[in-house]
Amino acid sequence: MAKLIRMDQTGHTTLAEWTVGDADAIDAAVQAFRRELDAGFYAVVSTGEGHAEQVRELPLDADLVILRRPIAGG
């Protein structure tokens, strides 16, 4: 089952879970995904060891989509 998680003050929160073919779960995941992007989060998926990619649409075939906050120079 694929997961959309957000890194936050609880460690992380699972916002949605879906499987390909479950239209209702996918719809809910897409809505949650867009809501978090609108709130300023960036979505990232791992693309192999040491590699990650930012995504702007929910990749339904990904196992894990992580939402992170922007970084800045300190």
Binding site: I5, M7, D8, Q9, T10, G11, H12, Y42, V44, S46, E49, G50, H51, A52, E53, Q54, I66, R68, R69, P70, I71, A72, G73, G74
Partner: protein, 222 residues
């Protein structure tokens, strides 16, 4: 690690900065070396000159030499501070444990073990070996003789420590050069200078990064 096909979105906020690459890092290293020389050589010359002219003036010479020693140390301290732990430590032990679990899923066994010991995570990139902390990262260049200290963080005081590292790690993996561009440079110099100023518990972290960097070839991956 991404090689530029995907640019870190945060780079738009520092559009005036040239994108970091190998050549720019080497240039920064040379500038730091010249700056250190400009800060220390005059003090050494003053000490030597005074001693030649009047040996009894050696106390003035000693003060001058102390300045020559202290200035690079202060800069190194600034560099080591990028790996310090952030002030806020997250809300609860449960949140911290959850964050450590996620970070553990993102890294390999060795990095996981290093994090448990030092609170730092190593990551191999195309520019060298990164040592990532809660509020910054140190890049050890291939060969292990040069450290670039970067101050960079996620602005959320309530995030657990491991989540802070996971944020930086994911951004680094998205776009290494963009990550180094967004981050503020704090110090560039010999890793041993940074190591001396680190908390003792963190020193194995920079040791591991230096060892890994020594094994890297200087040539960019083809």
């Amino acid at each position: 690690m991404s090689s530029g096909a995907h640019t870190l979105p945060e780079t738009a906020g520092v559009y005036w900065r040239p994108r970091v690459d190998e050549r720019r890092l080497d240039g920064q290293a040379r500038i730091w070396t010249l700056t250190m020389a400009a800060h220390t050589v005059p003090f050494i010359m003053v000490a030597v000159g005074f001693f030649i002219v009047e040996p009894l003036s050696f106390p003035v010479g000693l003060i001058s030499l102390a300045h020559a020693w202290a200035i690079p140390e202060l800069y190194a301290k600034r560099g080591a501070n990028v790996l310090r732990q952030a002030r806020s430590r997250g809300r609860s032990d449960e949140a911290r444990a959850t964050a450590v679990g996620l970070l553990g899923d993102l890294v390999g066994h060795d990095a996981r073990a290093l994090h448990a010991r030092t609170g730092l995570v190593t990551e191999r990139g195309s520019l060298g070996i990164w040592l990532v902390g809660e509020a910054g990262a140190v890049l050890i260049r291939p060969g292990g003789r040069r450290a670039h200290c970067f101050c960079v963080r996620v602005e959320d005081p309530d995030l657990p420590p491991a989540d802070r590292i996971a944020h930086l790690l994911l951004a680094l993996r998205e776009d290494e050069a963009g990550f180094a561009t967004v981050a503020n440079g704090a110090f560039t110099g010999a890793p041993w200078r940074v190591r001396r100023r680190l908390l003792e518990v963190m020193r194995p972290g920079i040791d591991a990064a230096v060892i890994a960097a020594r094994a890297l070839d200087r040539r960019p991956p083809g």
